[in-house]
């Protein structure tokens, strides 16, 4: 759902760019606090994987396709701020080098997919995984976080095009169309995210914040 140039008016893209710039600088600060240096290669390869996966549009229905967003994937593995930083970098590279997403829409795209996507994924994942236990429940939490992250990013994109005055139909009509397609794309997001998270967990990588918690408990004792 990369917004191209022309969909957002000046007030909207300037505001979105300003919020995203602030969010990026805050996430650098938070990442510095939360992640040790040895997690940096993990951030790098996860970003590389998300870039590659975003190239793979999968058909959903009726001549429409979708691709992985990756915000929930990076959030579950590294936390929401490192995820915001990773997805922002992916979006910047896509925009600058590959013509994917407009330069004027970059702030909006970063806001929707990198930050709103990651923070909502984090909220859903933490609350759902907190009320149950076991592997299946954890997978359900990852799936739900993925699905919701796509839906809220689609919601935010619709709001931005709407306030730009570029929707020829009512906001409600546009929103239901956007959420309808993204409800299907979100299922793909959920399935891919659950599969990749399971693989990485089996390989012995636990979420960053759990490691930090374990570390501080050890050093605090």
């Amino acid at each position: 759902m990369h917004i191209p140039d022309g969909f957002l008016d000046a007030k909207t893209w300037v505001s979105a760019a300003a919020i995203s710039a602030g969010a990026i600088s805050y996430s650098v600060k938070k990442t510095r606090e939360a992640l040790s240096e040895r997690m940096v290669p993990v951030m790098g390869v996860l970003a590389a994987f998300i870039f590659a996966a975003q190239m793979i549009n999968f058909p959903i229905a009726g001549g429409t396709s979708g691709h992985l967003l990756g915000a929930a994937l990076a959030t579950v593995l590294l936390g929401p701020w490192a995820s915001g930083l990773i997805i922002s970098t992916v979006l910047i590279i896509q925009c600058l080098f590959f013509n994917d997403g407009g330069i004027t829409a970059l702030g909006g795209n970063i806001l929707n997919m990198a930050f709103i996507g990651s923070l909502v994924a984090y909220a859903v994942y933490r609350s759902v995984s907190g009320i149950g236990g076991g592997k299946r429940w954890e997978q359900a939490a990852v799936f739900l976080a993925s699905w919701v992250s796509v839906m809220v990013a689609a919601f935010a994109a619709t709001v931005e095009v709407g306030v730009s005055g570029n929707l020829p139909v009512s906001f409600g009509v546009a929103l239901s169309a956007m959420l309808g397609w993204h409800a299907l794309i979100g299922i793909g997001e959920g399935l891919i995210t659950v599969a990749v998270v399971s693989f990485v967990r089996n390989a012995g990588l636990s979420p960053a914040w759990q490691q930090e918690k374990a570390q501080s408990e050890v050093s605090g004792a």
Binding site: T31, R32, S36, A48, A52, I56, P59, F97, F98, A157
Partner: protein, 96 residues
């Protein structure tokens, strides 16, 4: 964990090189809605000129090869960029 890192990087390259040429070229959710509801024409040509427009490496006749090469370049570029950002962001952190 070093192995996991390498496996994810190789998986990323494999996806970019071997799967991307076969990705669906149908419009994505936003493009589809913009077409159906009649605001796709609000979109403009990208203002900025990109070196590898639309994930096709320029100067390569074979479309699948052009996409695969663009994928490989982008994957490595993303790894490098995030690695650099990550090093910058974690530099001042003292190791426990």
């Amino acid at each position: 964990m070093k192995n996991t890192v390498l496996i994810i990087l190789l998986a990323a390259l494999a996806v970019a090189v071997f799967l991307s040429p076969f990705a669906s070229s149908s419009p994505d959710g936003l493009e589809r809605v913009a077409e159906d509801l009649g605001f796709i024409e609000k979109g403009e040509e990208q203002i900025l000129k990109s070196p590898i427009p639309d994930y096709a490496f320029p100067g390569i006749e074979n479309e699948k090869a052009a996409t695969a090469l663009a994928g490989a370049v982008g994957t490595l570029l993303t790894f490098g960029a995030v690695y650099a950002v990550g090093r910058g962001a974690s530099r001042k952190k003292k190791e426990a």
